[in-house]
Point group: C2
Chain length 277, copies 2
């Protein structure tokens, strides 16, 4: 496996790097970012996965989430994957919320998406293995978070693989995509008309059916311009009906932007650090 | 107005007192407790009302909630009212959840309860006036919290009178009494069969209809033995659907006891103090 270094910058005593590799999962080149804190001796550090939202690449959160300072303080790594396959031969759509930048963290089964849109296996299987080989991270101490479509990814992935992810949180997640304009279109395109196949990719359904064996943290802004698509009330209901340990916070006046994400990043990084260290 | 001092004890540099007075609201003698922190100069301090749950008197939280240390540190007073009228000529029921110790913070309109069961006006109007006259508290800086039936009282009172209560929180509140065995029986007995009269006393309905103009904090234990009666999922759904600022926390493994209340009392007192000081 070859990993090409695109850039590395000193950041809070550690290193913020951007890397490219050939992905077997997507059949394309993929770019991702990793923040590594200053290492003590030869110890491996816990790692927090950050999944981004619609239209994002590996870069948005890396530059705008202000996570590095907290990861450095806590002594944990953060990985920022891309949100879809890229390249001229990869199917796309004119809409911002389908195709490139909108992989929805599923493995597509429908044409024209099936050949490359394999973001679930990329994020859950291929990239952790690659990062575990190339960086001093402890794959037994992984947490996952994300924003919007990435919050959807983080919650669905963690609830499906609680043995792999010790901790999970989300910022303004797409919480009930099978009942949302952010979800029905994409799940139909990627997975087909059979709604049974969608259920594994809906955080509210997974919360009702299985939950997560440890505490969950969810932050949502009350002035979010996409609340009608995110549907936090559905996930909150499912969470409390299940008696899922954790907390659901409605943050007054915050919108859907990275100004919101940045404002609560310290809480989330420290939440994961407490559970991973 | 005559206030009889039943006891006063030094506590964390302040005073924990128990007092008796003749109540116009209930037409009975009523006993309540007040914790006053050490006063600085002649300043009046903010006050946090603590409403207790079924079977309680003024005494339970006073002795078991370990609130005094945090109120002393924050410099706020706490008042602990009783949960019903008392006395030989006061109607009662054999059940623990109706009659004495179970006033539900309503003004009864139905016999045999109507003559004395006026806990809403007692807690909201009469007692604040009395306490404001007798103690160095600032009636412009009042918050309210409570446990179980008292959480129900705190939430319904605060949403009805947001101009009087600057802050509100609840421990394991009876969240949707119009749909619960802890609610339907009592609201029928005290207010009659007309469910329209019940709506003003259901936190989930009030949350859906009007909410609270500032942040709300609710804690619930995941191992609470009364979850089927408390219905936190209904209130969480209403809260997030409204985009009500605040947080709903499901605390792993905690039950309905004062060990739960005590474990999160510091968070609640400090939450109120931040908003009252």
């Amino acid at each position: 496996m070859t990993l090409e270094t695109l850039s590395e910058n000193r950041s809070f005593g550690g290193t913020q790097g951007v890397y490219r590799h050939r992905s077997q999962a997507t059949g394309t080149d993929m770019t991702f970012a990793v923040f590594m804190p200053e290492l003590v001796a030869n110890e491996r550090v816990p790692v927090l996965w950050y999944l981004s939202g619609l239209t994002c690449t590996h870069e948005n959160a890396m530059t705008k989430a202000a996570a590095q300072q907290w990861c450095a303080e806590a002594g944990i790594a953060m990985v920022f994957p891309d949100t879809s396959p890229r390249g001229d031969d990869v199917a796309d759509d004119e809409a911002y919320d389908l195709g490139k930048g909108a992989g929805f963290y599923v493995d597509a089964t429908q044409d024209p998406w099936a050949p490359h849109y394999r973001m679930w296996r990329y994020v859950v299987h291929e990239l952790p293995e690659l990062v575990g080989d190339a960086f001093a991270i402890d794959r037994e101490a992984m947490g996952i978070t994300g924003h919007s479509m990435g919050g959807h990814g983080a919650l669905t992935i963690a609830m499906t693989h609680p043995e792999r992810y010790k901790s999970v949180s989300a910022f303004a997640p797409i919480a009930n995509p099978t009942e949302s304009d952010w979800g029905r279109k994409q799940l139909t395109a990627y997975l087909g008309d059979d709604r049974a196949a969608w259920r594994a990719h809906d955080a509210t359904i997974l919360m009702a059916e299985k939950g997560f064996p440890r505490e969950v943290l969810i932050d949502q802004g009350s002035a979010d311009q996409f609340l009608d698509k995110l549907k936090p009330e559905a996930l909150a209901q499912a969470m409390m009906a299940r008696r899922q340990p954790g907390q659901f916070r409605m943050q007054q006046g915050y919108d859907h932007s990275y100004f919101f994400v940045q404002s609560f990043m310290a809480d989330h990084v420290m939440w994961h650090a407490e559970r991973l260290l």
